[in-house]
């Protein structure tokens, strides 16, 4: 059993997880209503992974995320407004409408532009980590990827180099059991697709309950600590589950109902909420108030984003090469 931190910290984590949940659910409904353009790959169900890993990172630390980036980006401090504006393809979006749902980020808060090529961010994380060391900082890179990425060649090349160069990087596999719609059982013979491969590269690995924000946070402290101290990379494999499908309109017909029920019972937000109440950290009234505040803020930002300016069509011709823009 993990140890409950003091109230401010515990509630801070809950607040962030709840924000991610509300954000994702809001987007899902906007999408169903036909208001939200583009495609969506949602992270609800995996909030404990994002928040547990990122809660204690510094602004100067970097995260590298995937096609399912919202939880990570929000946890790292990318602004809600710039995220929602990007989802709507607006010029105030964090990528000025040029990125979209799979490329959100804000390097000024250490959130590298999200990467929609599975496994593509692992070698980039090695480069970011190398920079942290070359510039003689003790900052670290935390690289998220899914179970599917562990079968990419880039995974092997990045982990091997991170190990031999002892890079300050944490490789975090969010194993949600499915690579898009294919069960990881069909594509990898290992029980722990990332952690079991650690020994192949000489990288210490841990398997963690990815739905327990405190367990993730404790593992993060160990792994980030090693990276900061120059002890090299760690692989964390967080066992988790998507609430939604791989992407828009995916009804998850490939997931057995009992499996879904078993995982939904372990919902990271419901279980943490219950613990906060059971252990007397916070009262129901206080929690409801926090939840209402978050919902109101998201609703207001959605309205803002919907009504904000579309990018000028010809702005598509800008930014192919760097024009000197700042973060």
């Amino acid at each position: 059993m993990t140890k409950m931190p003091e109230k401010e910290r515990a509630v801070g984590m809950y607040r962030r997880m709840y924000q991610i949940r509300q954000y994702e659910e809001t987007i899902y409904y906007l999408f169903l209503e036909g208001i939200m353009p583009g495609t969506i790959h949602q992270s609800h169900g995996q909030e404990a992974c994002a928040v547990g890993m990122i809660y204690d990172l510094r602004k100067e630390d970097y995260i590298l995320t995937t096609h399912r980036p919202a939880g990570h980006d929000l946890a790292k401090g990318v602004s809600l407004r710039s995220m929602l504006c990007e989802m709507f393809g607006k010029s105030e979006g964090c990528c000025k409408g040029k990125g979209g749902a799979m490329h959100t980020g804000d390097l000024s808060v250490g959130a590298v532009t999200a990467n929609a090529i599975v496994g593509g961010n692992l070698p980039i994380a090695a480069g970011v980590a190398l920079r942290c060391r070359m510039m003689k900082t003790d900052n670290v890179a935390v690289c998220f990827f899914g179970d599917g990425a562990s079968n990419e060649g880039a995974f092997h090349e990045a982990l091997n180099a991170a190990a031999v160069w002892k890079l300050p990087v944490v490789y975090v596999c969010e194993n949600n059991l499915y690579s898009a719609t294919t069960s990881i059982r069909l594509t990898c013979s290992l029980e722990h697709v990332a952690a079991d491969r650690g020994s192949a590269y000489g990288i210490p690995s841990e398997v963690v309950d990815g739905n327990d924000v405190l367990a993730v946070n404790e593992a993060a402290a160990r792994a980030v600590g090693r990276a900061r101290n120059g002890e090299g990379p760690t692989i964390l494999e967080l066992k988790t589950y998507r609430i939604g499908g791989h992407s828009r309109n995916d009804a998850c017909g490939y997931r057995p109902e009992e499996e879904e029920q078993e995982w939904f019972a372990k919902d990271p937000i419901h279980t943490f909420r219950k613990r906060l109440l059971d252990e007397g950290v916070i009262t129901e009234e206080e929690l409801v108030k926090i939840e209402e505040e978050i919902t109101e803020e998201i609703d207001a930002e959605v309205e803002y984003a919907k009504n904000s300016k579309d990018p000028a069509p010809e702005s598509a011709l800008r930014d192919v090469y760097w024009e000197g823009g700042t973060l």
């Binding site: 040029k98 090349e157 160069w165 760097w322």
Partner: protein, 337 residues
């Protein structure tokens, strides 16, 4: 001024930039191992002694990693200079170059940028099909990448320094027969030339007129610019005056200099070692068909490698790659049109 080879000019450029800017560093497989060659062609030999293993990084044979490290380090403020040994290995890192390096600035709305230099030795040199290709044309198709191809020591130094200072990903195609390095290559061209001692850089998108002429404009890069000059010299005795233009960079491309020349000659030939189909010569031809058709008195000629993988045996390799004779023949046809 000092006389030096292309290989030494490239090295000097990297060395000077590493001294000037602590964010510049080198990486690559065998980039500088004690007792090794300094990359495959001596360009980075000796840098380890001066800058140490923190800034001269020997990597695993892992092209995805090499390019990915450039992207990650570049976007966070470094200026990586990677050596690929053989440009053919670019294909092993295509995702990192095309989906990552080239698109990151754009996808981020111009907030993130990636200074990085990818050095790709190219050209057919009796090594068979997988250590021989001229791949420039693949990359001119990718918005977000710059593509340069310096062919003289002067250009090599000035353009390499410019590439390292550029805030975007730059692919540098270096021809194996033009290095003039201590690693001897059969059929190598003697490229040794004067390089100023004082600091200079060469802006991209400025072609160099290697020889002036009035009858036929020949645009040729890397090794082909030398062969075109040789052909042009020989054709003087036949009364055919060729102007030879070395584009030096393909992205950006200096159409203006070529247009000016074609206004004078009315005849255009492009020569490249890359294969014919979809080669950069086709892009130049398309430009003239679209914008300058009335300046042309004859159809555009493209003299390129035949559309085969590069064969090993010298008689076949020499047959596939454009020769001085093929260039001369094409020029005669153009002049007679």
């Amino acid at each position: 001024m000092a006389e030096m080879s292309v290989a030494d000019a490239l090295k000097l450029a990297i060395q000077e930039e590493m001294r000037r800017d602590e964010t510049v560093f080198c990486l690559g497989e065998d980039v500088d191992i004690k007792g090794g060659m300094g990359g495959a062609f001596t360009v980075t030999k000796g840098l380890l002694d001066e800058f140490g293993p923190e800034r001269v990084i020997n990597t695993p044979i892992a092209e995805i990693l090499i390019a990915g490290v450039c992207v990650g380090a570049g976007m966070t403020g470094m200026r990586p200079v990677a050596d690929l040994q053989y440009g053919d290995f670019l294909f092993c890192m295509m995702d990192q170059l095309v989906n990552q390096a080239a698109k990151m600035c754009y996808m981020s709305g111009g907030k993130v940028h990636i200074p990085m230099v990818m050095r790709a030795p190219c050209g057919a040199t009796n090594r068979g099909a997988q250590h021989a290709q001229s791949l420039e044309s693949y990359f001119i198709h990718v918005p977000g990448l710059k593509v340069i191809c310096p062919s003289t020591p002067y250009d090599a130094k000035g353009m390499m320094k410019q590439a390292i200072r550029d805030d975007n990903p730059v692919l540098v195609f270096e021809h194996k027969l033009l290095y003039g390095s201590s690693r001897k290559e059969k059929d190598a061209v003697r490229t040794s030339g004067e390089v100023p001692k004082e600091e200079y850089t060469i802006e991209f998108g400025k072609a160099a007129v290697r020889k002036e002429g009035t009858d036929v404009t020949i645009v040729a890069n890397l090794l082909m610019s030398y062969r075109a000059q040789e052909a042009a010299k020989a054709l003087e005795s036949e009364g055919i005056s060729c102007e030879v233009i070395d584009p030096r960079s393909l992205v950006p491309f200096d159409y203006e200099t070529v247009e000016r020349s074609v206004k004078k000659t009315g005849r255009l030939m492009v020569v490249h070692e890359d294969t014919y189909n979809g080669g950069w010569g086709a892009q130049v031809a398309a430009h003239f068909a679209e914008y300058c058709i009335f300046d042309l008195d004859a159809p555009v000629k493209i003299v390129a490698a035949y559309d085969t993988p590069i064969p090993f045996a010298a008689p076949m390799e020499n047959f596939v790659i454009p020769s001085v004779d093929r260039i001369k023949e094409a020029a005669r046809e153009l002049a007679a049109f």
